[in-house]
Symmetry: D2
Subunit: 398 residues, 4 copies
Amino acid sequence: MKNKLLWRTTAAGGAPDSDVAEFTVGNDYLCDSRLVQYDCRASIAHAKLLLKMGIITKKEHAKLVSALKKIILLHKQGKFAVKRGDEDVHTKIENFLVKGLGKTGRKIHTFRSRNDQVLVALRLYCRANLIEAKASIAGLSSALSSLAKKTKGVKMPGYTHMQRAMPSSVQLWAGSFMESLSQDLLAIDFALRVNDENPLGSAAGYGLPFRIDKGVTTKELGFSRHFKNPLYVQNTRAKTELVSVFALLQAMMTLNKLASDLMLFTTKEFGFFSLPESMCTGSSIMPQKKNYDVLEIMRGNLGTVSGNFASILTNSANLPSGYNRDAQLNKAKLMESFDVTLSSLKMASKVVKNLKVNKENLESAASAELYAAEEAMKMAMKGTPFREAYMKVSGKFR
Amino acid sequence: MKNKLLWRTTAAGGAPDSDVAEFTVGNDYLCDSRLVQYDCRASIAHAKLLLKMGIITKKEHAKLVSALKKIILLHKQGKFAVKRGDEDVHTKIENFLVKGLGKTGRKIHTFRSRNDQVLVALRLYCRANLIEAKASIAGLSSALSSLAKKTKGVKMPGYTHMQRAMPSSVQLWAGSFMESLSQDLLAIDFALRVNDENPLGSAAGYGLPFRIDKGVTTKELGFSRHFKNPLYVQNTRAKTELVSVFALLQAMMTLNKLASDLMLFTTKEFGFFSLPESMCTGSSIMPQKKNYDVLEIMRGNLGTVSGNFASILTNSANLPSGYNRDAQLNKAKLMESFDVTLSSLKMASKVVKNLKVNKENLESAASAELYAAEEAMKMAMKGTPFREAYMKVSGKFR
Amino acid sequence: MKNKLLWRTTAAGGAPDSDVAEFTVGNDYLCDSRLVQYDCRASIAHAKLLLKMGIITKKEHAKLVSALKKIILLHKQGKFAVKRGDEDVHTKIENFLVKGLGKTGRKIHTFRSRNDQVLVALRLYCRANLIEAKASIAGLSSALSSLAKKTKGVKMPGYTHMQRAMPSSVQLWAGSFMESLSQDLLAIDFALRVNDENPLGSAAGYGLPFRIDKGVTTKELGFSRHFKNPLYVQNTRAKTELVSVFALLQAMMTLNKLASDLMLFTTKEFGFFSLPESMCTGSSIMPQKKNYDVLEIMRGNLGTVSGNFASILTNSANLPSGYNRDAQLNKAKLMESFDVTLSSLKMASKVVKNLKVNKENLESAASAELYAAEEAMKMAMKGTPFREAYMKVSGKFR
Amino acid sequence: MKNKLLWRTTAAGGAPDSDVAEFTVGNDYLCDSRLVQYDCRASIAHAKLLLKMGIITKKEHAKLVSALKKIILLHKQGKFAVKRGDEDVHTKIENFLVKGLGKTGRKIHTFRSRNDQVLVALRLYCRANLIEAKASIAGLSSALSSLAKKTKGVKMPGYTHMQRAMPSSVQLWAGSFMESLSQDLLAIDFALRVNDENPLGSAAGYGLPFRIDKGVTTKELGFSRHFKNPLYVQNTRAKTELVSVFALLQAMMTLNKLASDLMLFTTKEFGFFSLPESMCTGSSIMPQKKNYDVLEIMRGNLGTVSGNFASILTNSANLPSGYNRDAQLNKAKLMESFDVTLSSLKMASKVVKNLKVNKENLESAASAELYAAEEAMKMAMKGTPFREAYMKVSGKFR
């Protein structure tokens, strides 16, 4: 028996077809490199279960834990990247254990499937990144709060239909994004809750023929509950991943609105805000140019996340229960969604912190017609039915 | 001053262009007909505020409430449908009040905007329909639970990659959908929570120039809180609507999986389940046919809801803050999403209740190779490292 | 044998379940009402084939043709609307023929399936509407051409990154949409070509057991070729429908850009263009307001068409060959896409024809910095390497 | 003046902010590495124009061409990868020319913008890859044709609604995909036609202040026409990219159908086809497993391309005319779409070539009820009205 085995590509019995292997792995190995620490942590928890069940001895357990911790360290040092030929992160780690620990390594996969591993690693990945998103949202909210304080009293026109509508203020405008972020936090908390379930023990989606104490890994990995139905665990792949992507999408909608506003308000014609030249970009042909590319990329990242949402949804539509490998493709889409949302949130904080407020332009734009509704309402306060008041004031503008 | 005024189409001062009116209203009046009761209830709440603020007298208040209740009644009797020429439900109702109550009717719009009205009506609509979705989910879950009990002990192959994998059971299979529905309830609760906020008083998105007691309408309409930032209220249009549609999408993913499974399991080749002939459909050309169209429409409704999700998202992308009329188009998409999801949930209950279980086919399909993993695990229990056990058992199948 | 039969709902043998019938038909009967003339025309062509094959006599043929023409007339008079209880347009028409012509009516369905009928009716529908789209595009292009002529010589700033970039003109701007529409015509021609294939004779997707002369109906209906593979004909449902929707999407992208530009250029801050008050809309609360709702609905219609595209795609993904009833749901999405695109194209012509050009604002916005690139290029013409020239000019703006 | 300049990040005048640079460049540099040859070829064509216009001498021209050819060679040898710090491929190449050729290098950018360069490089990239797609389609079509020949006469059930419907054959089934690919070729030809337009000379979207002979670069690069309106050239970014992605989507729909069919037909229950074990994959836990992951990834790639389509569409929606940097994000989506479609087409050929046909299972599944429609039609041929014949035959199956 060889030390290195590729379970997916060789276990079916044939000599593996390298075209098929390359095609099916695709770029997934790049995603898998980002799951090393999560897979190792889950394997450490699983080893504890195996110890408890008498599959491995105390000594074997210690060796496994030590080897898995070493992998985490190697990975941090950039020495454990998953390569296409490794099949995937799970096979690579198991092969590492088998190579280093021999027989003991060959025991680690008792009572679990690769599906178990993928699921638990992805949930740990999502948890860590959702928590990071919350921190970034808090940072952006704090930057907006500072802006609101700094600009207290600065008037600004409020727009509807992109036309001047009613009096507003920079503070009100900044506050709308703070409130939007509050709602985004609810979406993230919902995603955290849905992810907060230990899938280990679901095996290939039909559970195990022997009773195991799921509480061991649940506690070890900090989940607050374990799964109830092993088949549903498999069926969560796209469905629960979309819960995370949806939460990111909500945050990106907030940032898309912020960037869209700023792109408009930094035009020469509006001139309400600007960014320092160091944050702007020039043109290759027009020497006078100062562009807000940073806002455009932030704005455009909404399309990335929404496309990923559509992609995950489409490739899971109309498929029967149980693991289908199409789900592998979700991984890259999920990770890209986290990447662009997290980087956009951070960049948005920097943008808000560096925003220059052109008070003069803002206030001169808060022109008299913004007060037309107020005028009609004052008449209503004094007894004129509102519709009559409205018509009277309206007459002044025709 | 005429009794009937179309605020959108005439208030800008010109004689209204009928092509423009037809184009901008589109089919939205059909959606608006479904909001009559919600707009009236919100207007009743608003009247209470106007009474408290001294804008209307007790007598005027009583007249308004009575007229609004009459509209609700007329609508239930099918006598208050919004027509294209009415502009929208809000204008139609206000014109009805002005026509019936004269001066008093002209006061109802004091301190509110149409945006206020649209938002509150949509939130009340979503709340009612989300609650109905919860009830339908409970009904389906109960049908699944009965199926699980009825089929206790009936074996079934578990599939991965659409190939027979491990032993499963009808009970386990049915249970996976019950668990899926539990998660869907979480999504609906999240949507309910996000919708549970009184938008009245946000006016055109920039609040009112006078302080009003928002608690009055909040209490009256059963919201648990009122909005904090009036601009964000406007900016929730697509963003919060997507929260509802996402919850529906999660439920439709559950139903799509159920329908996909059943389409496979009712083929001649699988033959695990069937439906009574009264629920099947025939062919116009093939006399022998018995088709499961009911499952196909259920399956296909996922595409409807996901397309609507994409539509709402795209038409709000890259737009600046404040109301933009593009949002009107979301209404039809939101309502269609509720319609198909609610009807699919109900139909799914009926399907599950009428499902005939072909025990013989199910058990004969649960063939011996499903126990290969168990065999390897048993060897692992007795001391053979799992990987060695796996290879030994694997050899039998090559 | 009863005169009225519902093939789908009763032919499977059972007493039809009314919930299932209502659920599966859904709102499709509304779409079907719009296919009456196309189904009749295809049936007239099919009758000619049956005559040639000796299935019906000359007399029977004359009766069928006359009855089908009568249906077309009745439909034009609004007297032949398909109702939910009719199952679908095809069954309704066949039942009408059976009721009126007895035995002769019972022959019309020889050698064809409902799938045949749906496909041919949809292709005729698409052909007619694609041709109408071409005419509307020509109309809009002509309106843009008039605008370009009328504004000859009027300067305008050219923007990149939403910042003033280089000198442009209203003529150049209008010309960009004319050119965009030219490309859209190519997409429509592609869609016309793909639809230009007679599907009759494909039956349920597996052809007929007898040879028929497909040339008869091909010629009669004005198709330039007939299908080659009957199974592919069925598999075109979503695939070819998406070709039409894609062509509409291209046109809507043109209109979305036009509307987005105009929404920006009609703001108070830009002030380049305006529309007459009769084409604008007012606010329910702000007496001064003049909004461009007509542009917002036009802009938002892109989301509708793109959502429909996503919907059709998702509900056909991962499905096996042969007709699947999920495809029925595409019909409403296809028709809505045509409706909003055609009405938007017409409205765009009206908008362009009524556009008021504010020459003063346009020219004063074409400020000096737009000529920075020209200055650098002039230096390059005289021998300074462009990059050096660029840096020199650039220095003036920092 | 330094030799290395980053036009985007420094030309606006400030000391560049590295966070902004990293955020805006993102992963785009990876895409840019794939455009090296196209940018060089376009620069060679542009140099010819500069020679003709007297901006550079014959000697300078020769130096530029030689340096650009060297870059192409270096790139082929893997020695010219674009790195994040290079800004983009265009800046990297210009900096290479400036470093190597000094003053001459500083002249290459005369009369062109980076937008020009991006557009021409992307069109050349699309052209090359669309042509490759055509070749791969031809290969797959040929494999299908061989399969059809090889299986001549082998019966197979035809399915509708996933139920056995009418007699079919492997030949008919294979032929349906050949016909589908024929339509896909039309879509690719349409995409080629739309891309076949020289954008050089459009500069930043507003043309050049001097007349240039666009025919020079048009001829040099093998385009059949040059652009008409410079602003539309910029506005094609998302719009024309979607034409290419749509063509790929059509091809992926063909492959998704093929893979979906094969996933069904290779189940134990159907058993119509199989693939050699070398092309199958095993399970990490179930020793008996033989999975068709190759088909699942092929099937799932539709979701990738359709998500990319949605992404490009969303991030261009509602944006005004002229270059917006959001368009940069389309590049990765476009390239991924080409990558997965091209690799799927190639893999599909291999799958079809290696498909094992289980004649016995196929023919035994072509059971008697498939001939019910034929029986009714035979009766119709002999004079019984079809509907009566249908009812008679139908009775046998109830």
